[in-house]
């Protein structure tokens, strides 16, 4: 329906010659498709919340647009080299690490209260309480202790010395001077009902970023005004409003009518819509299609006897023309993936084994695997088994359904039968992939971060089973002791060059074994008016709003 609507919109706008509304002085209205369910930094996990919070807060550390780790709230990124991080022996005999951070001296909450270690300790107290209901408990679980040295510096001791020891990207502070009254450790479960982030959202004391929230209407919009206590560059807009428009065709119409100025890439229109829009309105906006860390791929159920054979998996990948798919459907804006490692990531191995389209070689591999008898246009083995798989994805996702159809026809050309079976997202993710109920192939995406170790996705210890209550994300059932060891080694290897070697080996095993069929990395389309400067897409989950103080009207 959405695409029919988009088509109607396209045709009508082409005829109407729509005029663009002028930007209101000092104001910016941004369209996004989702509204955050809460603004508490630790309750619920949702991209819309992260985007809003980046306007008003800063984590201790993050990745910048070059995917390098940097300090935001801290003054200097602690490292073992600069002496601010030290490996330590923990009482249980494990090797841990103590990392000392210093909070920016000028950091103040919007009501003038300084951001101090009291906030750090309070955030830890809230987060580590299992009854609070924080979404990402892992970051609190890995902390053994936090010791405050003074108002601004503190040391965090973690239970494992990983290469990412100094990152605290999701450790977002909660203001102790406001939230202490709302948090009772004995009834921590009630905190989510009392948190001022939801009950008193416009309280300036909740924010220390470049902007603070001036108005919020649930499911409609959030308005921000500059925060006078912000310690960084002065924000350039007097008011920024994030307006929620769930229907992307209506979002386009709003952009053209001037109701919104800019559609953010992180939560905006789909890439095919954006490409069509660009054709109609090429001169009026700047377009940025930023490939990111959303990895579209096909999980293969390795319990399927046909897919257990590596030759079949490799043949399947050789039989499809991903370059053509990316070119025809996405005008080349989404790079073909060879493994789960993005070419923009420093660990990417440019010599990784690739599978360019080669139907002849694919046929040879299928023949070698025993599927050399052609009947009714499809390959069979000597036992009469047809080379046939179910290909599932999320129903209603137009881009994926298009890709699915192309794949089906390309595989048919080499004698592989594909039966398409799609399901609503909540069924697909809630049951089919999680409980490994798909019989052949599952097309979906993983979202990761720079240099992400896919331990839960590829380690044999993380295969979901009924016995482990479906814990883990290794939905393919991939088991390779070499890969298991490699994943664990990578995680604790501190030497960057040694780690690069391990990552190269990882990519070699991944591309040889093909537990999944890599497709491409999704690109986020940013449609920015010509007058708006300073929007820098990052391609990872720490997106453009983290640098909103740089947004300015030309």
């Amino acid at each position: 329906m959405r695409y029919l609507a988009t088509g109607v919109l396209a045709a009508s706008l082409a005829l109407s010659g729509a005029a663009l509304a002028q930007q209101k002085a000092g104001e910016l209205t941004v369209a996004m498709t989702q509204f955050p369910s809460t603004l508490n930094p630790h309750i619920d996990s949702m991209l819309a919340k992260t985007i809003v919070l980046h306007m008003t807060q800063r984590p201790l550390t993050t990745f910048n647009e070059k995917w390098q780790a940097i300090c935001l709230l801290c003054t200097e990124l602690p490292t073992i080299e600069n002496g601010k991080a030290k490996p330590v022996d923990l009482p249980d005999g494990k090797k841990g690490v103590s990392v000392t951070y210093t909070i920016h001296p000028n950091a103040k909450w919007g009501d003038g209260t300084p951001v101090t270690t009291k906030d750090v300790l309070f955030t830890y107290e809230v987060g580590k309480n299992p009854d609070t209901g924080v979404a990402n408990m892992e970051q609190f679980r890995e902390i053994v202790s936090i010791v405050a040295h003074d108002d601004k510096s503190f040391t965090v001791t973690k239970d494992k010395l990983k290469f990412s020891y100094n990152l605290m990207n999701d450790f977002r502070l909660i203001p102790e001077h406001i939230e202490k009254a709302n948090f009772d450790p004995k009834s921590a479960a009630d905190y989510k009902k009392k948190t001022a982030f939801d009950t008193n959202t416009t309280n300036p004391g909740l924010f220390f970023g470049p902007y603070k929230i001036a108005e919020i209407v649930t499911s409609s919009h959030v308005s921000f005004v500059p925060n006078p206590t912000w310690f960084g560059d002065k924000p350039k807009f007097n008011r920024v409003t994030f307006k929620v428009i769930e229907n992307t065709a209506a979002m386009e119409a709003n952009l053209l009518s001037g109701s919104v100025d800019y559609i953010m890439g992180e939560l905006g229109i789909t890439i095919d819509q954006a490409l069509a829009f660009q054709k109609r309105q090429a001169d009026k906006y700047n377009y940025d299609f930023k490939p990111g860390l959303v990895y579209e791929h096909i999980d293969l159920n390795l319990d399927n006897p046909l897919l257990k054979d590596k030759r079949v998996r490799q043949g399947l990948l050789l039989a499809i023309n991903r370059d053509q798919i990316v070119q025809q459907l996405f005008e080349g804006k989404q790079p073909v993936a060879h493994t789960n490692v993005n070419p923009l990531d420093w660990i990417y191995d440019k010599d990784v084994k690739t599978y360019r389209h080669d139907a002849k070689k694919a046929a040879e591999l299928f023949d070698a695997a025993g599927f050399n008898v052609m009947k009714e246009g499809y390959r069979h083995n000597a036992a009469g088994d047809r080379l046939r798989f179910e290909l599932m994805t999320t129903a209603g996702n137009r881009s994926r359904e298009l890709v699915q159809q192309v794949l089906q026809s390309q595989w048919k050309a080499v004698g592989v039968e594909i039966v398409i079976k799609n399901e609503p997202a909540r069924v697909f993710f809630g049951e089919t992939t999680k409980e490994r109920k798909y019989t052949g192939m599952a097309l979906f995406a993983w979202i990761s971060s720079p240099e992400n170790v896919p331990l839960t996705i590829l380690s044999s210890k993380h295969i979901p089973t009924k016995e482990n209550n479906w814990a883990g994300q290794n939905y393919t059932g991939y088991k390779n002791p070499e890969m298991d060891k490699l994943l664990e080694d990578i995680e604790v290897e501190l030497d960057r060059e040694k780690r690069r070697t391990l990552w190269t080996k990882f990519q070699a095993i991944y591309s040889e074994d093909l537990p999944v069929l890599p497709l491409f990395f999704r690109a986020e389309p940013f449609i920015v008016p010509k007058w708006l400067k300073g929007i820098v897409p990052t391609g990872h989950q720490y997106g453009t709003t983290m640098w909103s103080q740089n947004w300015a009207a030309n």
Partner: protein, 317 residues
């Protein structure tokens, strides 16, 4: 009459109770839950986190246990807390209900005000060019998908003419009544066009049939003025099936304007109920659906009472 009303009230209570159980069960039986969706979108969340959150929100308890607890609390006036919005349910539902009432009443009143004269005129002048134009409009109104109509209106009034906002509830920073009225025009227009088409079609066919009846001929033979014949004798009888349709339409407007609300980013009940069902936000979904159910039952009761007003042969004892 008192006995009839008491009986209908008890029936309505029973329907609401059964509905609450059915809705609760249907939401609970849907595979997957929002925690799974959260897990698939967050690389840092672990399966253990998911299990903990499921327990935290009570999603791991048996369905009947959760339902009975909800029912007990609801009976005491505690409608609970929205899992999705992190606010008390009534704080979410009541403003949405108010918004929907504006939309519903606006669309309904305008529809009826236009549809009745149009339907009567078309019935009195069948096959005239006006009748054909009204028929054409009605067919278009019934056939055109809501999203398509909404988009066309946005393009015409917001993009091309630039005289009305493309969507939303109000201009940010303003709270005047006239400003909010401007934002209501396009969604009301969308629903009105569809409603007019439906009501007019029913009324036209009802009127054509009634105007052929003997008692109409008798009234004319007695020398009654034509306007009295049409508006007093014919319309009252033709309105009986139309009133039923109007009552059902009105109920549908409360919970079923999802597409219109989505297209215009209008914060109404339809979208709230849909989102709550999809997000397993039991408390909000239930209260929203029960409100919708109660209003539909109430409107049907009003329709039943109106039958007696329109047709003296009908009486309730």
């Amino acid at each position: 009459m008192t006995r009839f009303l008491s009986l209908r009230f008890l029936q309505a209570l029973l329907v609401v109770l059964v509905m609450s159980f059915v809705v609760y069960s249907l939401i609970g039986l849907m595979p997957g839950d929002p925690i799974d969706i959260m897990l698939s979108g967050d690389p840092n969340m672990t399966a253990a986190d998911a299990a903990r959150l499921r327990a935290h929100y009570g999603l791991d308890r048996p369905l009947h246990e959760r339902y009975l607890e909800w029912l007990g609390n609801a009976a005491r006036g505690d409608f609970g807390f929205s899992r999705q919005h992190h606010q008390p349910v009534l704080a979410i539902v009541l403003p949405r209900l108010l918004n929907t009432l504006y939309l519903m009443i606006g669309a309904f009143v305008i529809s009826v005000a236009i549809a009745i004269p149009a339907g009567v005129y078309a019935a009195r002048h069948p096959r005239s060019w006006v009748d054909q134009a009204i028929n054409l409009f009605c067919f278009a109104g019934i056939s055109v998908p809501t999203f398509f109509l909404a988009l066309l209106l946005i393009i015409l009034f917001a993009v091309k003419l630039g005289i009305l906002p493309a969507g939303g509830m109000k201009t940010i920073g303003q709270s005047s009544f006239t400003d909010q009225l401007r934002y209501l025009i396009l969604p009301v227009m969308t629903l009105t066009i569809i409603n007019i088409a439906q009501i007019t079609r029913y009324l036209r066919s009802g009127m054509i049939e009634v105007l052929r009846e003997d008692y109409i001929r008798t009234a004319r033979a007695k020398g009654a003025h034509e306007s009295r014949v049409v508006w007093r004798h014919a319309l009252r009888n033709a309105m009986i099936p139309t009133v039923t349709i109007m009552a059902l339409e009105c109920g549908t407007l409360l919970s079923g304007a999802v597409i219109t609300e989505t297209m215009f980013a209008y914060l109404g009940m339809g979208k709230l109920i849909l989102d709550s069902v999809l997000a397993n936000d039991f408390n909000v979904a239930l209260i929203g659906l029960l409100f919708a159910c109660s209003v539909t039952l109430f409107l049907n009761l009003v329709a039943d009472l109106l039958y007696a007003v329109l047709d003296p042969r009908i009486s309730y004892r």
